[in-house]
């Protein structure tokens, strides 16, 4: 054997074995195993397994209060979706809400109180103890109260109307010169309150019964209300049930809402008041208005003097308005006829969330249209809302009145507490900054992440993220009825965070400011339980159950504890409707002394005169953004799909420009440009958009992309920093020019 085994035999054996091996599963199985092994590196995350549960709660990321169905695995949420039939949400969530359960893991999450260190141009959170942070806030507040230092204590409440808001106001009421600042939200109800001569209740819009909705730039389908509800109302329900309203959208660009509207009316930026006056002119001229009601209740409709409402709108003939707004006279007349024909009709303002509210004059002009149409106090229009009972135990000195930021004297706030719960709208920091006492102010932000305005604070106190804490969700500002839902914690909050209510209770205790009736618990959950008990005792309304999609009348709910249990399981209390109180007398121009002059001035347009005029500043700059996603603070890291990986939405400092305008200035799509206004300059990335009006630039205020960046604040300046700051309230339009970067 050995004698006959030659080298040739060996080679044959090896070659044959190799060839034969190929006919066995061994090499292929090995290759397969290697492929599988290389797909399972230890650093590739393995999703944790666990018990699967479905829990119901409420989204707290914006005031809409959408119902949430959370799929939880091992006690932690892994996906969120809408609740079918929910009276507030309409069965869906927006992209911001769909990523709400990611926010506890936000890269900019703060887990302990921090002082912002800006030495060297950086803004870096430096940990401090909660006691030290509270002591600094108490010291600043005490100095204002004792008169040791000038200034006042203020709270800027990102979302007014909550029990927490009442606690803020009680705390401020116990301080010397406490200021409670609340942004304008929803339908500009403050303007109507200024026009009514007697109290009437906060108006809400009865959209379910509206036939025609005229929107002055409000992003009806893009964050203005609960997405599912608004889509059903504007696009009609797929099942054909329910009523579909006719939407007329007035704004300079073809936005998402404008693209889906029945009619889009592009108008020149900042000329909303002129168009509203033009429509009023035609309603009156063609006798399409509710003349009987107007003549009975309006004190300044026709006074025989030169400063009446009639004399004001008589200046805004269709041809004149057409020259100001760019909207043809025929279109103006057509809209006026449609509003009168297809009633009930409602007119709302709002504008882009990044651009802030329309001016007071525009809002009064819009309310004037509603009053002319007879839409105020009528089903399908604006009806007064009966407020829900609050926590009866919150007592002490009288609550601080609601103040407007623009009315606060400059350099007057010593301690500012920023509640960063998002209203969804933007507020330029420079408007806040100029109200602060120079060199000696303290800004404390209550925020889960160091983003947005919290980056600019001196102290940041970490609060629970949206899926980590018990919270309440009252009715959004535009709701015609009061509602209340609870947000349940879906996962535990980290040890270092503190609920805003608990923080204010501790601060009030340090300053000996009583907040609650003697003997009543100051624990946040107890405050909410007392409020729920008060609602139960009122016997009003019904409760929606997300488990079966049915409503239960309050009379059928045995006890406050039963109501609490229903709400804790994702239920939503909705108040019953009552017959609206008769509309009181009102002033169409508003009650301010200079109302006529200011309204006439607004009718000429909002673009302020600047040195050099339109020749030096030939373009118009407008900030833009999505409600609730104007910075990184509420944006899931996965939102990069929309902002960074697809271009569906615009990132911080991306500018939409009409292609013809861009080419005229030598700009290229995706190229760089520098936008200049009289207030400063900003580098942007150009994006061509044929839906943008020629001569207008829309610049996104955020988010910044990825949410990972901790880079310097000065590198993340947004367009609001170069918007006008002289009016104190209106920053949505600015004269600008552009050049290639």
């Amino acid at each position: 054997m050995g004698k006959n085994f030659t080298r040739r035999h060996l080679l044959k054996f090896v070659g044959g074995s190799a060839a034969g091996l190929l006919l066995t599963p061994v090499p292929w199985k090995t290759l397969d195993d290697v492929a599988i092994w290389t797909q399972n590196w230890s650093w590739i995350p393995v999703p944790p397994k666990g018990e699967i549960q479905t829990r119901f709660t409420t989204c707290t990321l914006c005031p809409a209060g959408c119902g949430v169905r959370a799929r939880c695995v091992g006690g932690r949420p892994v996906s969120l979706s809408g609740v079918a039939g929910h009276p507030a949400g309409g069965g869906s969530l927006c992209p911001v809400g769909l990523g709400g359960h990611h926010l506890p893991y936000h890269p900019l999450r703060l887990l302990e109180p921090a002082r912002m260190d800006r030495s060297g141009g950086d803004d870096r959170p430096v940990p401090v103890t909660l006691d030290a942070a509270l002591a600094a806030m108490a010291r600043a507040a005490e100095e204002t109260r004792s008169g040791a230092s000038g200034g006042s204590v203020a709270v800027l409440d990102g979302r007014p109307g909550r029990t927490l808001s009442t606690i803020y106001r009680k705390f401020l009421g116990g301080m010397k010169s406490g200021l409670y600042l609340a942004p304008e939200m929803g339908i500009g109800a403050n303007a109507l309150q200024d026009m009514l001569l007697e109290p009437w209740g906060r108006p809400g819009l009865d959209l379910e019964n509206t036939a025609t909705l005229l929107s002055f730039g409000a992003p009806i389908l893009d964050g203005w209300g609960a997405p599912g509800r608004m889509a059903d109302l504007v696009l009609g329900r797929r099942d054909g049930k329910g009523r579909r309203l006719k939407l007329i959208q007035v704004e300079p660009r073809r936005s998402r809402t404008a693209a889906a509207a029945d009619q889009w009316v592009p108008l020149n930026p900042g000329t909303e008041a002129a168009l509203a006056f033009g429509l009023a002119h035609q309603l009156v001229q063609l006798r399409l208005f509710d003349e009987k009601s107007v003549r009975k209740r309006a004190v300044d409709f026709e006074t025989g003097e030169g400063s009446s409402y009639l004399s004001l709108i008589s200046r805004f003939t269709p041809d004149t308005v057409s020259g100001i707004t760019g909207v043809s006279a025929e279109t103006i007349t057509g809209i006026a006829r449609e509003l009168a024909r297809n009633s009930p009709a409602a007119v709302v303002g709002g504008g882009d969330p990044a651009g802030g509210p329309l001016g007071e004059e525009e809002e009064r002009a819009i309310w004037g249209l509603n009053l002319l149409l007879g839409s105020v106090g009528k089903a399908g229009g604006f009806v007064p809302r009966r407020e829900a009972p609050g926590d009866p135990a919150i007592s002490g000195d009288g609550p601080a009145a609601v103040s407007r930021l623009e009315e606060v004297p400059d350099r007057s706030i010593r301690l500012l507490i920023l509640d960063t719960a998002g209203s969804g709208g933007a507020l330029p920091w420079k408007l806040i900054d100029r109200k602060l006492v120079p060199q000696n102010s303290l800004v404390a932000a209550l925020a889960p992440v160091v983003a947005g305005d919290a980056r600019r604070a001196d102290l940041v106190i970490p609060v629970p993220s949206c899926t980590e804490a018990l919270d309440e969700v009252p009715a959004p500002a535009a709701s015609p009825v009061s509602t209340l839902s609870l947000a349940q914690p879906l996962q535990p909050a980290p040890a270092g965070v503190i609920a805003p209510a608990a923080l204010i209770v501790r601060l009030a205790a340090a300053l000996s400011v009583p907040l609650f009736s003697s003997g009543e618990s100051a624990v946040w959950a107890d405050c909410l339980k007392r409020r729920v008990e008060a609602i139960h005792n009122s016997g009003r309304g019904s409760v929606f159950s997300p488990q079966d999609g049915k409503f239960a009348e309050m009379a059928a709910i045995e006890s406050p504890e039963s109501l609490w249990k229903l709400l804790s399981e994702g239920g939503c209390w909705i108040d019953s409707r009552e017959v609206p109180a008769p509309l009181p007398h009102y002033s169409l121009l508003g009650r301010k002394n200079d109302a006529y002059a200011s309204m006439a001035s607004a009718g000429a347009g909002r673009l302020a005169a600047v040195p050099g005029g339109a020749q030096a500043w030939p373009l118009v700059l407008m900030p833009s953004g999505l409600c609730g996603a104007l910075d990184d603070s509420q944006v899931s890291p996965l939102m990069t799909k929309l902002y960074q990986e697809s271009g569906l939405r615009r990132l911080l400092n991306q500018a939409d420009i009409n292609p013809a305008t861009a080419r005229a200035y030598g700009l290229a799509d995706r190229g760089g440009a520098v936008i200049e206004t009289p207030s400063g300059s900003l580098r942007v990335e150009v994006r061509f958009d044929p839906g943008v009006m020629p001569g207008v630039i829309h610049v996104a205020v955020g988010p910044g992309g990825g949410g990972k960046s901790r880079n310097r604040l000065r590198d993340r300046l947004n367009v609001l920093t170069i918007c006008p700051d002289d009016s104190g309230r209106v920053w949505r339009v600015a004269r600008a020019r552009v050049r290639e970067a």
Binding site: C94, M230, P659, A660
Partner: protein, 257 residues
């Protein structure tokens, strides 16, 4: 054989373009459901991963006559001759005869990206890096879907994880097939405008079958003969005509004029 044919399902989607508002909820829900990681810092619209991507389409007119719609584009689930299947050297792409879903088997994928080149809808995405989530966020991942690693291609599979879960529930209940009420992809479930319908094309009475036969319904690039099972609907003629062109490239072409 006949019985086997009857038990087959052909899952399909009909997207009403006129109802889509371009909110992006479908993209977000898709990424959450399928454990698609956030973008790497350097990622852009050409290197990002979006199993479902919403494009804005313009009619090419100038302001104010320009019109736009939003077109959600995912894997079109080609029913006949899927180009990605035939080109894959690894058999990592399969057309499941029982469901009609074109599946991507990450474990077999070599990352040659031939399938990406072959796909006429630009609906496939390559993992240029390892998937990374912010610290702790892996706890929020969907346990029904395995994350993919760098070097492999991925794409929409009509939420296969949900199909498996529905099949398990059906089997536990002793039922033969999946009931449509139990299986809805994340994008269809999340759409606030109810623009996305999902169902079984093999059932001639299903909503998707009825919608697919509608005169306003169309498919992308029908001339290629791939018979996509993702249908679109629009009453606007220019939208239907635009869809016959190279859909994905069209956005920039029209935007740039």
């Amino acid at each position: 054989m006949e019985n086997e044919k009857k038990s087959r399902q052909r899952f399909a989607m009909v997207i009403d373009v006129d109802r889509c508002t371009g909110c992006g909820a479908c993209m977000m829900a898709c990424a959450v459901e399928n454990n698609v990681p956030p973008a790497r810092p350097e990622a852009g619209d050409r290197t990002g991963i979006t199993w479902l991507r919403v494009y804005r389409m313009d009619n090419g007119n100038t302001f104010p006559e320009s019109e736009s719609v939003f077109l959600p584009v995912s894997c079109q689930q080609c029913d006949e001759h899927p180009p990605c299947v035939s080109v894959c050297p690894q058999n990592a792409v399969e057309l499941d005869p029982k469901t009609g879903i074109v599946g991507q088997i990450a474990e077999r994928c070599l990352g040659c990206r031939y399938c990406m080149t072959a796909c006429p809808y630009h609906a496939r995405y390559f993992n240029w890096g390892d998937p990374e989530w912010p610290k702790g966020m892996e706890q929020a991942l969907n346990p029904g879907v395995a994350p993919r690693m760098r070097g492999v291609v991925e794409k929409c599979n009509f939420c296969h994880g949900r199909l498996h879960a529905a099949e398990e529930r059906a089997a536990a209940a002793g039922k033969a097939g999946v009931e449509m009420e139990a299986y809805v992809p994340a994008c269809a479930e999340s759409c606030p405008a109810n623009a996305i319908s999902f169902g079984d094309l093999s059932d001639p009475d299903s909503s998707v079958s009825v919608l697919a036969r509608d005169a306003d319904t169309f498919r992308l690039l029908p001339r290629l003969g791939t018979s996509p099972k993702v249908y679109y609907r629009s009453k606007k003629r220019w939208v239907r005509e635009l869809a016959q062109k190279e859909a994905v490239k069209e956005e920039r072409k029209t935007v740039n004029g």
